[in-house]
Protein backbone atom coordinates (compact mmCIF):
# COMPACT_ATOMS: atom_id res chain seq x y z
CA UNK A 1 0.00 0.00 0.00
CA UNK A 2 2.89 2.37 0.76
CA UNK A 3 4.20 2.08 -2.81
CA UNK A 4 0.71 2.75 -4.18
CA UNK A 5 0.39 5.88 -2.01
CA UNK A 6 3.80 7.16 -3.12
CA UNK A 7 2.93 6.55 -6.78
CA UNK A 8 -0.40 8.35 -6.32
CA UNK A 9 1.17 11.40 -4.66
CA UNK A 10 4.10 11.85 -7.09
CA UNK A 11 2.01 13.42 -9.93
CA UNK A 12 0.57 16.03 -7.55
CA UNK A 13 4.13 17.36 -7.17
CA UNK A 14 5.69 16.45 -10.51
CA UNK A 15 3.11 18.14 -12.73
CA UNK A 16 3.86 21.53 -11.12
CA UNK A 17 7.67 21.44 -10.93
CA UNK A 18 8.28 22.36 -14.58
CA UNK A 19 6.11 25.50 -14.71
CA UNK A 20 7.41 26.64 -11.29
CA UNK A 21 11.14 26.33 -12.02
CA UNK A 22 11.08 27.18 -15.74
CA UNK A 23 8.25 29.54 -16.68
CA UNK A 24 9.68 30.19 -20.18
CA UNK A 25 8.52 29.41 -23.72
CA UNK A 26 11.80 27.70 -24.70
CA UNK A 27 12.80 24.95 -24.99
CA UNK A 28 9.59 23.81 -26.67
CA UNK A 29 8.41 20.37 -25.57
CA UNK A 30 6.62 18.43 -28.35
CA UNK A 31 6.34 21.77 -30.17
CA UNK A 32 4.58 23.40 -27.21
CA UNK A 33 5.70 26.14 -24.79
CA UNK A 34 7.68 24.56 -21.93
CA UNK A 35 4.94 24.80 -19.22
CA UNK A 36 2.24 23.32 -21.51
CA UNK A 37 4.59 20.64 -22.84
CA UNK A 38 5.62 19.71 -19.29
CA UNK A 39 1.99 19.34 -18.17
CA UNK A 40 1.21 17.26 -21.28
CA UNK A 41 4.09 14.87 -20.60
CA UNK A 42 2.92 14.49 -17.01
CA UNK A 43 -0.64 13.69 -18.09
CA UNK A 44 0.78 10.80 -20.13
CA UNK A 45 2.93 9.76 -17.14
CA UNK A 46 -0.17 9.79 -14.93
CA UNK A 47 -1.84 7.26 -17.22
CA UNK A 48 1.26 5.05 -16.98
CA UNK A 49 1.41 5.46 -13.18
CA UNK A 50 -2.29 4.56 -12.88
CA UNK A 51 -1.67 1.43 -14.98
CA UNK A 52 1.14 0.43 -12.58
CA UNK A 53 -1.09 1.08 -9.54
CA UNK A 54 -3.87 -0.96 -11.17
CA UNK A 55 -1.45 -3.85 -11.75
CA UNK A 56 -0.13 -3.98 -8.16
CA UNK A 57 -3.27 -2.95 -6.22
CA UNK A 58 -4.37 -5.86 -3.99
CA UNK A 59 -7.94 -4.45 -3.86
CA UNK A 60 -8.15 -4.88 -7.60
CA UNK A 61 -6.76 -8.44 -7.49
Amino acid sequence: MTLIRILAVVPFIGIFIGPIVHNQVHPLILGMPFPLGWVTVWVVLISIIMAIIYAIDPANK
Binding site: L28, M32, P33, P35, V39, V44, I46, N60
Partner: protein, 487 residues
Protein backbone atom coordinates in the same frame (compact mmCIF):
# COMPACT_ATOMS: atom_id res chain seq x y z
CA UNK B 1 -31.64 26.58 -45.73
CA UNK B 2 -27.83 26.19 -45.96
CA UNK B 3 -25.80 22.97 -45.74
CA UNK B 4 -24.51 23.85 -42.27
CA UNK B 5 -28.01 24.20 -40.87
CA UNK B 6 -29.09 20.87 -42.39
CA UNK B 7 -26.15 19.11 -40.68
CA UNK B 8 -27.03 20.75 -37.35
CA UNK B 9 -30.74 19.84 -37.58
CA UNK B 10 -29.83 16.25 -38.52
CA UNK B 11 -27.57 15.96 -35.47
CA UNK B 12 -30.37 17.19 -33.21
CA UNK B 13 -32.75 14.61 -34.69
CA UNK B 14 -30.15 11.84 -34.24
CA UNK B 15 -29.74 12.85 -30.59
CA UNK B 16 -33.51 12.80 -30.06
CA UNK B 17 -33.94 9.41 -31.79
CA UNK B 18 -31.04 7.77 -29.95
CA UNK B 19 -32.18 9.22 -26.65
CA UNK B 20 -35.73 7.91 -27.04
CA UNK B 21 -34.69 4.53 -28.51
CA UNK B 22 -32.39 3.94 -25.53
CA UNK B 23 -35.46 2.98 -23.51
CA UNK B 24 -36.19 -0.10 -25.73
CA UNK B 25 -39.08 -1.60 -23.77
CA UNK B 26 -37.52 -1.15 -20.33
CA UNK B 27 -39.76 -0.18 -17.44
CA UNK B 28 -38.41 3.18 -16.30
CA UNK B 29 -38.71 2.92 -12.54
CA UNK B 30 -36.52 5.03 -10.25
CA UNK B 31 -33.65 2.50 -10.32
CA UNK B 32 -33.65 2.24 -14.13
CA UNK B 33 -34.31 5.93 -14.87
CA UNK B 34 -31.66 7.37 -12.55
CA UNK B 35 -28.87 4.77 -12.42
CA UNK B 36 -29.56 2.40 -15.35
CA UNK B 37 -30.20 -0.51 -12.97
CA UNK B 38 -26.51 -0.25 -11.95
CA UNK B 39 -25.59 -2.35 -14.97
CA UNK B 40 -23.32 -0.16 -17.12
CA UNK B 41 -19.98 -1.60 -18.21
CA UNK B 42 -16.73 0.34 -18.36
CA UNK B 43 -17.37 1.86 -21.81
CA UNK B 44 -20.69 3.49 -20.90
CA UNK B 45 -19.39 4.65 -17.51
CA UNK B 46 -16.26 5.92 -19.28
CA UNK B 47 -18.43 7.96 -21.65
CA UNK B 48 -20.57 9.34 -18.82
CA UNK B 49 -17.51 10.35 -16.77
CA UNK B 50 -15.68 11.62 -19.86
CA UNK B 51 -18.84 13.53 -20.73
CA UNK B 52 -17.73 16.08 -18.17
CA UNK B 53 -14.61 16.77 -20.23
CA UNK B 54 -16.41 17.39 -23.50
CA UNK B 55 -19.18 19.90 -22.87
CA UNK B 56 -19.81 23.22 -24.62
CA UNK B 57 -17.11 24.48 -22.27
CA UNK B 58 -14.67 22.40 -24.32
CA UNK B 59 -15.76 23.74 -27.66
CA UNK B 60 -16.17 27.37 -26.70
CA UNK B 61 -14.66 27.99 -23.26
CA UNK B 62 -11.37 26.07 -23.63
CA UNK B 63 -10.57 27.49 -27.06
CA UNK B 64 -11.79 30.90 -25.84
CA UNK B 65 -9.55 31.00 -22.77
CA UNK B 66 -6.54 29.84 -24.85
CA UNK B 67 -7.31 32.64 -27.33
CA UNK B 68 -8.02 35.33 -24.74
CA UNK B 69 -5.74 34.51 -21.80
CA UNK B 70 -2.94 32.29 -23.13
CA UNK B 71 -0.98 30.42 -20.44
CA UNK B 72 -3.72 30.39 -17.73
CA UNK B 73 -5.62 28.00 -20.03
CA UNK B 74 -3.06 25.28 -19.22
CA UNK B 75 -4.89 24.53 -15.95
CA UNK B 76 -7.66 22.84 -17.96
CA UNK B 77 -5.25 20.13 -19.14
CA UNK B 78 -3.83 19.48 -15.67
CA UNK B 79 -6.75 19.28 -13.25
CA UNK B 80 -8.68 16.39 -14.80
CA UNK B 81 -5.75 13.99 -14.74
CA UNK B 82 -5.15 14.70 -11.04
CA UNK B 83 -8.89 14.24 -10.40
CA UNK B 84 -8.72 10.76 -11.98
CA UNK B 85 -6.05 9.75 -9.46
CA UNK B 86 -8.45 10.75 -6.67
CA UNK B 87 -11.26 8.92 -8.50
CA UNK B 88 -9.28 5.66 -8.47
CA UNK B 89 -9.46 5.64 -4.66
CA UNK B 90 -12.74 7.51 -4.02
CA UNK B 91 -15.23 6.17 -6.55
CA UNK B 92 -15.08 2.42 -5.71
CA UNK B 93 -16.17 2.93 -2.06
CA UNK B 94 -18.81 5.49 -3.13
CA UNK B 95 -20.14 3.00 -5.71
CA UNK B 96 -20.14 0.12 -3.17
CA UNK B 97 -21.98 2.21 -0.58
CA UNK B 98 -24.48 3.38 -3.18
CA UNK B 99 -25.19 -0.18 -4.30
CA UNK B 100 -25.45 -1.46 -0.71
CA UNK B 101 -28.00 1.19 0.28
CA UNK B 102 -29.79 1.62 -3.07
CA UNK B 103 -28.80 5.30 -3.44
CA UNK B 104 -29.94 7.38 -6.43
CA UNK B 105 -28.47 10.84 -5.84
CA UNK B 106 -25.51 12.59 -4.26
CA UNK B 107 -27.59 13.93 -1.32
CA UNK B 108 -28.70 10.31 -0.69
CA UNK B 109 -25.05 9.50 0.03
CA UNK B 110 -24.76 12.25 2.65
CA UNK B 111 -28.15 11.37 4.18
CA UNK B 112 -27.06 7.76 4.76
CA UNK B 113 -23.45 8.44 5.77
CA UNK B 114 -24.39 11.08 8.33
CA UNK B 115 -27.86 9.80 9.21
CA UNK B 116 -29.24 13.31 8.58
CA UNK B 117 -31.98 14.30 6.15
CA UNK B 118 -31.26 17.94 7.01
CA UNK B 119 -27.70 17.57 5.74
CA UNK B 120 -29.17 15.92 2.64
CA UNK B 121 -31.42 18.95 2.12
CA UNK B 122 -28.47 21.36 2.46
CA UNK B 123 -26.43 19.34 -0.05
CA UNK B 124 -29.47 19.31 -2.37
CA UNK B 125 -29.66 23.11 -2.29
CA UNK B 126 -25.92 23.40 -3.01
CA UNK B 127 -26.32 20.89 -5.85
CA UNK B 128 -29.22 22.76 -7.44
CA UNK B 129 -27.53 26.15 -7.12
CA UNK B 130 -24.50 24.68 -8.91
CA UNK B 131 -26.42 22.61 -11.48
CA UNK B 132 -28.72 25.34 -12.82
CA UNK B 133 -25.80 27.61 -13.91
CA UNK B 134 -24.12 24.53 -15.40
CA UNK B 135 -27.27 23.77 -17.39
CA UNK B 136 -27.52 27.44 -18.40
CA UNK B 137 -23.92 27.19 -19.57
CA UNK B 138 -24.79 24.27 -21.87
CA UNK B 139 -27.80 26.08 -23.33
CA UNK B 140 -25.81 29.31 -23.75
CA UNK B 141 -23.16 27.35 -25.63
CA UNK B 142 -25.81 25.64 -27.75
CA UNK B 143 -27.29 28.99 -28.76
CA UNK B 144 -23.88 30.38 -29.74
CA UNK B 145 -22.89 27.24 -31.70
CA UNK B 146 -26.13 26.98 -33.70
CA UNK B 147 -26.26 30.70 -34.46
CA UNK B 148 -22.62 30.96 -35.58
CA UNK B 149 -22.28 27.56 -37.29
CA UNK B 150 -25.66 28.05 -38.98
CA UNK B 151 -24.49 31.43 -40.37
CA UNK B 152 -27.26 33.22 -38.49
CA UNK B 153 -30.08 31.31 -40.22
CA UNK B 154 -31.41 30.29 -36.79
CA UNK B 155 -31.46 32.68 -33.83
CA UNK B 156 -29.97 31.80 -30.44
CA UNK B 157 -33.43 31.80 -28.88
CA UNK B 158 -34.85 29.26 -31.36
CA UNK B 159 -31.78 27.04 -30.89
CA UNK B 160 -32.06 27.21 -27.10
CA UNK B 161 -35.79 26.39 -27.07
CA UNK B 162 -35.29 23.53 -29.58
CA UNK B 163 -32.37 22.07 -27.61
CA UNK B 164 -34.30 22.31 -24.35
CA UNK B 165 -37.30 20.53 -25.92
CA UNK B 166 -35.13 17.69 -27.30
CA UNK B 167 -33.34 17.12 -23.99
CA UNK B 168 -36.61 17.26 -22.05
CA UNK B 169 -38.21 14.68 -24.34
CA UNK B 170 -35.50 12.06 -24.19
CA UNK B 171 -34.66 12.53 -20.52
CA UNK B 172 -38.32 12.04 -19.55
CA UNK B 173 -38.53 8.89 -21.69
CA UNK B 174 -35.14 7.23 -21.15
CA UNK B 175 -33.36 8.83 -18.18
CA UNK B 176 -29.63 8.12 -17.80
CA UNK B 177 -29.73 5.44 -20.52
CA UNK B 178 -30.64 8.06 -23.14
CA UNK B 179 -27.68 10.18 -22.04
CA UNK B 180 -25.30 7.22 -22.26
CA UNK B 181 -26.42 6.28 -25.78
CA UNK B 182 -26.14 9.81 -27.15
CA UNK B 183 -22.73 10.12 -25.44
CA UNK B 184 -21.41 7.39 -27.76
CA UNK B 185 -22.16 9.47 -30.87
CA UNK B 186 -21.00 12.67 -29.20
CA UNK B 187 -17.57 11.35 -28.26
CA UNK B 188 -16.91 9.78 -31.67
CA UNK B 189 -17.84 13.06 -33.38
CA UNK B 190 -15.79 15.18 -30.97
CA UNK B 191 -12.76 12.92 -31.14
CA UNK B 192 -12.57 13.06 -34.94
CA UNK B 193 -13.38 16.75 -35.33
CA UNK B 194 -11.12 18.07 -32.57
CA UNK B 195 -8.15 15.98 -33.72
CA UNK B 196 -8.60 17.07 -37.35
CA UNK B 197 -9.04 20.76 -36.48
CA UNK B 198 -6.23 20.78 -33.90
CA UNK B 199 -3.72 19.31 -36.35
CA UNK B 200 -4.93 20.79 -39.65
CA UNK B 201 -5.30 24.44 -38.63
CA UNK B 202 -1.80 24.95 -37.08
CA UNK B 203 -0.18 23.09 -39.99
CA UNK B 204 -2.23 24.87 -42.67
CA UNK B 205 -1.99 28.37 -41.18
CA UNK B 206 1.48 28.33 -39.59
CA UNK B 207 3.39 25.34 -40.96
CA UNK B 208 3.17 23.30 -37.75
CA UNK B 209 2.37 23.40 -34.05
CA UNK B 210 5.87 24.49 -33.03
CA UNK B 211 5.90 27.17 -35.74
CA UNK B 212 2.53 28.43 -34.52
CA UNK B 213 3.78 28.90 -30.96
CA UNK B 214 7.02 30.55 -32.19
CA UNK B 215 4.99 33.10 -34.20
CA UNK B 216 2.59 33.79 -31.32
CA UNK B 217 5.54 34.26 -28.95
CA UNK B 218 7.17 36.71 -31.37
CA UNK B 219 3.93 38.68 -31.85
CA UNK B 220 2.78 38.59 -28.21
CA UNK B 221 5.76 38.12 -25.85
CA UNK B 222 4.74 36.68 -22.48
CA UNK B 223 1.38 35.40 -23.75
CA UNK B 224 2.44 31.74 -23.59
CA UNK B 225 3.94 31.82 -20.08
CA UNK B 226 2.44 32.70 -16.70
CA UNK B 227 2.45 36.33 -15.59
CA UNK B 228 4.74 37.48 -12.75
CA UNK B 229 1.68 38.40 -10.68
CA UNK B 230 -2.07 37.85 -10.83
CA UNK B 231 -2.63 34.72 -12.94
CA UNK B 232 0.89 33.59 -12.06
CA UNK B 233 2.28 30.08 -11.79
CA UNK B 234 1.03 30.00 -8.17
CA UNK B 235 -2.48 30.84 -9.38
CA UNK B 236 -2.06 27.89 -11.79
CA UNK B 237 -0.95 25.46 -9.04
CA UNK B 238 -3.75 26.43 -6.63
CA UNK B 239 -6.43 26.46 -9.35
CA UNK B 240 -5.43 23.01 -10.61
CA UNK B 241 -5.53 21.56 -7.08
CA UNK B 242 -8.83 23.24 -6.21
CA UNK B 243 -10.51 22.17 -9.44
CA UNK B 244 -9.20 18.61 -9.12
CA UNK B 245 -10.85 18.36 -5.68
CA UNK B 246 -14.16 19.62 -7.08
CA UNK B 247 -14.18 17.53 -10.26
CA UNK B 248 -15.98 14.50 -8.81
CA UNK B 249 -18.09 16.54 -6.41
CA UNK B 250 -20.50 17.43 -9.20
CA UNK B 251 -23.72 15.54 -8.37
CA UNK B 252 -24.08 14.15 -11.90
CA UNK B 253 -20.64 12.55 -11.55
CA UNK B 254 -21.82 10.68 -8.45
CA UNK B 255 -24.96 9.53 -10.30
CA UNK B 256 -22.75 8.30 -13.17
CA UNK B 257 -20.73 6.43 -10.54
CA UNK B 258 -23.84 4.61 -9.29
CA UNK B 259 -24.55 3.27 -12.81
CA UNK B 260 -21.46 1.02 -12.85
CA UNK B 261 -21.69 -2.78 -12.86
CA UNK B 262 -18.71 -3.14 -10.50
CA UNK B 263 -15.96 -1.11 -8.81
CA UNK B 264 -13.27 -2.25 -11.23
CA UNK B 265 -14.84 -0.01 -13.88
CA UNK B 266 -13.45 3.09 -12.15
CA UNK B 267 -9.94 1.73 -11.74
CA UNK B 268 -9.71 0.88 -15.44
CA UNK B 269 -11.13 4.27 -16.38
CA UNK B 270 -8.51 6.03 -14.23
CA UNK B 271 -5.85 4.64 -16.59
CA UNK B 272 -7.51 5.73 -19.85
CA UNK B 273 -9.21 9.02 -18.90
CA UNK B 274 -6.03 11.14 -18.43
CA UNK B 275 -4.86 10.28 -21.96
CA UNK B 276 -8.38 10.83 -23.29
CA UNK B 277 -8.40 14.29 -21.72
CA UNK B 278 -5.39 15.25 -23.86
CA UNK B 279 -7.86 15.73 -26.73
CA UNK B 280 -8.43 19.11 -25.05
CA UNK B 281 -4.91 20.00 -26.16
CA UNK B 282 -6.14 20.07 -29.75
CA UNK B 283 -8.97 22.43 -28.77
CA UNK B 284 -6.26 24.70 -27.34
CA UNK B 285 -4.37 24.51 -30.62
CA UNK B 286 -7.46 25.82 -32.43
CA UNK B 287 -7.80 28.65 -29.91
CA UNK B 288 -4.11 29.53 -30.24
CA UNK B 289 -4.31 29.27 -34.04
CA UNK B 290 -7.04 31.94 -33.92
CA UNK B 291 -4.85 34.40 -31.97
CA UNK B 292 -3.12 35.82 -35.04
CA UNK B 293 -5.82 34.88 -37.58
CA UNK B 294 -8.94 36.47 -36.04
CA UNK B 295 -7.49 39.10 -33.68
CA UNK B 296 -9.54 41.56 -31.67
CA UNK B 297 -12.15 39.36 -29.96
CA UNK B 298 -12.74 40.69 -26.43
CA UNK B 299 -14.65 39.56 -23.32
CA UNK B 300 -17.40 37.00 -23.95
CA UNK B 301 -16.64 37.17 -27.69
CA UNK B 302 -13.45 35.17 -27.06
CA UNK B 303 -15.81 32.16 -26.78
CA UNK B 304 -16.37 32.58 -30.54
CA UNK B 305 -12.67 32.10 -31.40
CA UNK B 306 -13.06 28.51 -32.62
CA UNK B 307 -16.09 29.17 -34.82
CA UNK B 308 -14.77 32.48 -36.16
CA UNK B 309 -11.69 30.61 -37.36
CA UNK B 310 -13.48 27.58 -38.83
CA UNK B 311 -16.11 29.67 -40.64
CA UNK B 312 -13.24 31.59 -42.27
CA UNK B 313 -11.40 28.41 -43.28
CA UNK B 314 -14.00 25.78 -44.22
CA UNK B 315 -17.06 25.24 -46.41
CA UNK B 316 -20.56 25.61 -44.89
CA UNK B 317 -21.04 21.81 -44.88
CA UNK B 318 -17.82 21.29 -42.87
CA UNK B 319 -18.79 24.09 -40.49
CA UNK B 320 -22.20 22.41 -40.12
CA UNK B 321 -20.59 19.09 -39.15
CA UNK B 322 -18.42 20.90 -36.59
CA UNK B 323 -21.55 22.67 -35.34
CA UNK B 324 -23.34 19.31 -35.13
CA UNK B 325 -20.61 18.01 -32.82
CA UNK B 326 -21.02 21.20 -30.80
CA UNK B 327 -24.76 20.55 -30.49
CA UNK B 328 -24.00 17.13 -28.97
CA UNK B 329 -21.61 18.73 -26.46
CA UNK B 330 -24.56 20.76 -25.18
CA UNK B 331 -27.35 18.17 -25.32
CA UNK B 332 -25.59 15.19 -23.71
CA UNK B 333 -24.15 16.90 -20.60
CA UNK B 334 -27.35 18.96 -20.37
CA UNK B 335 -29.43 15.79 -20.21
CA UNK B 336 -27.39 14.29 -17.35
CA UNK B 337 -27.48 17.60 -15.47
CA UNK B 338 -31.24 18.09 -15.73
CA UNK B 339 -31.95 14.44 -14.83
CA UNK B 340 -29.71 14.72 -11.76
CA UNK B 341 -31.29 18.01 -10.70
CA UNK B 342 -34.82 16.57 -11.10
CA UNK B 343 -33.92 13.52 -9.00
CA UNK B 344 -32.37 15.65 -6.26
CA UNK B 345 -35.40 17.94 -6.18
CA UNK B 346 -37.94 15.10 -6.21
CA UNK B 347 -36.25 12.74 -3.77
CA UNK B 348 -34.19 14.90 -1.43
CA UNK B 349 -36.03 18.24 -1.21
CA UNK B 350 -39.71 17.67 -2.03
CA UNK B 351 -39.22 14.19 -0.54
CA UNK B 352 -38.72 15.82 2.86
CA UNK B 353 -42.37 16.88 2.81
CA UNK B 354 -43.58 13.41 1.79
CA UNK B 355 -41.31 10.88 3.51
CA UNK B 356 -43.62 7.95 2.70
CA UNK B 357 -43.50 8.45 -1.08
CA UNK B 358 -42.80 5.24 -3.01
CA UNK B 359 -40.03 4.95 -5.61
CA UNK B 360 -42.68 5.04 -8.35
CA UNK B 361 -44.15 8.29 -7.00
CA UNK B 362 -40.65 9.77 -6.70
CA UNK B 363 -39.67 8.95 -10.29
CA UNK B 364 -42.97 10.21 -11.74
CA UNK B 365 -42.46 13.53 -9.96
CA UNK B 366 -38.80 13.64 -11.07
CA UNK B 367 -39.81 13.13 -14.71
CA UNK B 368 -42.31 16.00 -14.56
CA UNK B 369 -39.76 18.24 -12.87
CA UNK B 370 -37.50 17.93 -15.94
CA UNK B 371 -39.53 20.38 -18.08
CA UNK B 372 -39.93 22.70 -15.07
CA UNK B 373 -36.17 22.84 -14.48
CA UNK B 374 -35.56 23.23 -18.20
CA UNK B 375 -37.91 26.23 -18.37
CA UNK B 376 -36.02 27.86 -15.47
CA UNK B 377 -32.71 27.23 -17.26
CA UNK B 378 -34.05 28.63 -20.55
CA UNK B 379 -35.24 31.76 -18.73
CA UNK B 380 -31.79 32.38 -17.21
CA UNK B 381 -30.08 31.52 -20.51
CA UNK B 382 -32.05 34.05 -22.53
CA UNK B 383 -31.87 36.75 -19.84
CA UNK B 384 -28.33 36.07 -18.51
CA UNK B 385 -25.11 37.78 -19.51
CA UNK B 386 -22.20 36.05 -17.74
CA UNK B 387 -19.40 34.52 -19.75
CA UNK B 388 -19.16 30.75 -19.95
CA UNK B 389 -16.04 30.41 -17.80
CA UNK B 390 -17.50 32.60 -15.02
CA UNK B 391 -20.64 30.48 -14.87
CA UNK B 392 -18.60 27.32 -14.56
CA UNK B 393 -16.40 28.80 -11.82
CA UNK B 394 -19.44 29.69 -9.68
CA UNK B 395 -20.75 26.12 -9.83
CA UNK B 396 -17.30 24.70 -9.20
CA UNK B 397 -16.69 26.84 -6.12
CA UNK B 398 -19.96 25.57 -4.62
CA UNK B 399 -19.63 21.83 -5.22
CA UNK B 400 -15.98 21.85 -4.08
CA UNK B 401 -17.28 22.69 -0.60
CA UNK B 402 -18.69 19.14 -0.39
CA UNK B 403 -15.22 17.58 -0.69
CA UNK B 404 -14.08 17.63 2.99
CA UNK B 405 -17.36 16.15 4.26
CA UNK B 406 -17.44 13.45 1.59
CA UNK B 407 -13.80 12.42 2.02
CA UNK B 408 -14.13 12.22 5.82
CA UNK B 409 -17.17 9.97 5.38
CA UNK B 410 -14.95 7.46 3.54
CA UNK B 411 -12.59 7.13 6.54
CA UNK B 412 -12.80 4.07 8.79
CA UNK B 413 -13.56 6.36 11.74
CA UNK B 414 -15.28 9.49 10.49
CA UNK B 415 -14.28 12.45 12.71
CA UNK B 416 -17.05 14.69 11.31
CA UNK B 417 -20.55 15.02 12.76
CA UNK B 418 -23.65 15.87 10.76
CA UNK B 419 -23.84 19.29 12.45
CA UNK B 420 -20.15 19.90 11.75
CA UNK B 421 -20.63 18.90 8.12
CA UNK B 422 -23.57 21.29 7.70
CA UNK B 423 -21.72 24.16 9.38
CA UNK B 424 -18.62 23.59 7.23
CA UNK B 425 -20.51 23.34 3.93
CA UNK B 426 -22.68 26.38 4.74
CA UNK B 427 -19.63 28.47 5.69
CA UNK B 428 -17.70 27.40 2.59
CA UNK B 429 -20.57 28.17 0.22
CA UNK B 430 -21.25 31.60 1.76
CA UNK B 431 -17.56 32.56 1.64
CA UNK B 432 -17.24 31.23 -1.93
CA UNK B 433 -20.32 33.20 -3.04
CA UNK B 434 -19.09 36.45 -1.45
CA UNK B 435 -15.60 36.05 -2.93
CA UNK B 436 -16.92 35.17 -6.40
CA UNK B 437 -19.40 38.01 -6.70
CA UNK B 438 -17.12 40.67 -5.18
CA UNK B 439 -14.25 39.54 -7.45
CA UNK B 440 -11.98 39.48 -4.40
CA UNK B 441 -8.46 38.06 -4.55
CA UNK B 442 -6.15 36.91 -1.76
CA UNK B 443 -4.03 39.98 -2.57
CA UNK B 444 -6.98 42.37 -2.24
CA UNK B 445 -8.07 40.78 1.05
CA UNK B 446 -4.59 40.62 2.67
CA UNK B 447 -2.31 43.03 0.73
CA UNK B 448 0.87 42.52 2.77
CA UNK B 449 1.45 38.87 1.89
CA UNK B 450 4.25 37.64 -0.41
CA UNK B 451 3.26 37.82 -4.11
CA UNK B 452 3.11 34.03 -4.48
CA UNK B 453 0.47 33.78 -1.73
CA UNK B 454 -1.43 36.83 -3.02
CA UNK B 455 -1.85 35.05 -6.36
CA UNK B 456 -3.33 31.84 -4.91
CA UNK B 457 -6.84 31.05 -6.15
CA UNK B 458 -9.26 32.77 -3.79
CA UNK B 459 -11.40 29.60 -3.66
CA UNK B 460 -8.80 28.14 -1.30
CA UNK B 461 -10.01 30.62 1.36
CA UNK B 462 -13.57 29.25 1.16
CA UNK B 463 -12.29 25.68 1.45
CA UNK B 464 -10.05 26.53 4.43
CA UNK B 465 -12.95 28.32 6.18
CA UNK B 466 -15.10 25.26 5.48
CA UNK B 467 -12.55 22.85 7.02
CA UNK B 468 -11.89 25.04 10.09
CA UNK B 469 -15.60 25.35 10.89
CA UNK B 470 -16.17 21.65 10.13
CA UNK B 471 -13.42 20.58 12.57
CA UNK B 472 -14.41 23.00 15.36
CA UNK B 473 -18.15 22.30 15.22
CA UNK B 474 -17.59 18.54 14.90
CA UNK B 475 -15.35 18.60 18.00
CA UNK B 476 -18.01 20.57 19.89
CA UNK B 477 -20.92 18.33 18.87
CA UNK B 478 -19.30 14.88 18.80
CA UNK B 479 -20.73 13.83 22.17
CA UNK B 480 -24.23 14.85 21.08
CA UNK B 481 -24.45 11.97 18.63
CA UNK B 482 -21.61 10.95 16.38
CA UNK B 483 -22.05 10.38 12.71
CA UNK B 484 -22.42 6.94 11.22
CA UNK B 485 -19.03 5.26 10.82
CA UNK B 486 -17.89 4.34 7.36
CA UNK B 487 -19.19 0.92 6.44
Amino acid sequence: MNAALIAIILSALVALSLGVLARRGRDMGLEQWTVGNRGFGWVLVFLLLAGEIYTTFTFLGASGIAYGAGAPAYYIIAYGSLAYILAYFMLPPIWAYGKQHGLHSQPDFFVHKYNSRTLGALVSVVDLVALIPYLVLQLTGLGIIVEVAGYGAVSKEVAIWSGAAIVTAYVMVSGIRGSAWTAVVKDILILVIVLVLGIYLPVHLYGGIGDMFEKIDAAKPGFLVFAASGMSVWWFVSTVLLTALGFFMWPQQIVSTYTARNANVFRRNAIVLPIYQLILLFVFFVGFAAVLQVPGLKGADTNLALFKLVTAQFSPLTVGIIGAAGVFTALVPGSVIVMTAATVLSKNLIGLARPNATDDQTVVLAKWLVPVLMLIAVYFTINGSSTIVTLLLVGYSFVTQLFPTLVCSLMKRNPVTAVGAMAGIFTGVVVAAVLTFTHATVGSLIPGLPQAIQDINVGIIALVANVVVLVVVSAATRTQGASVAAE
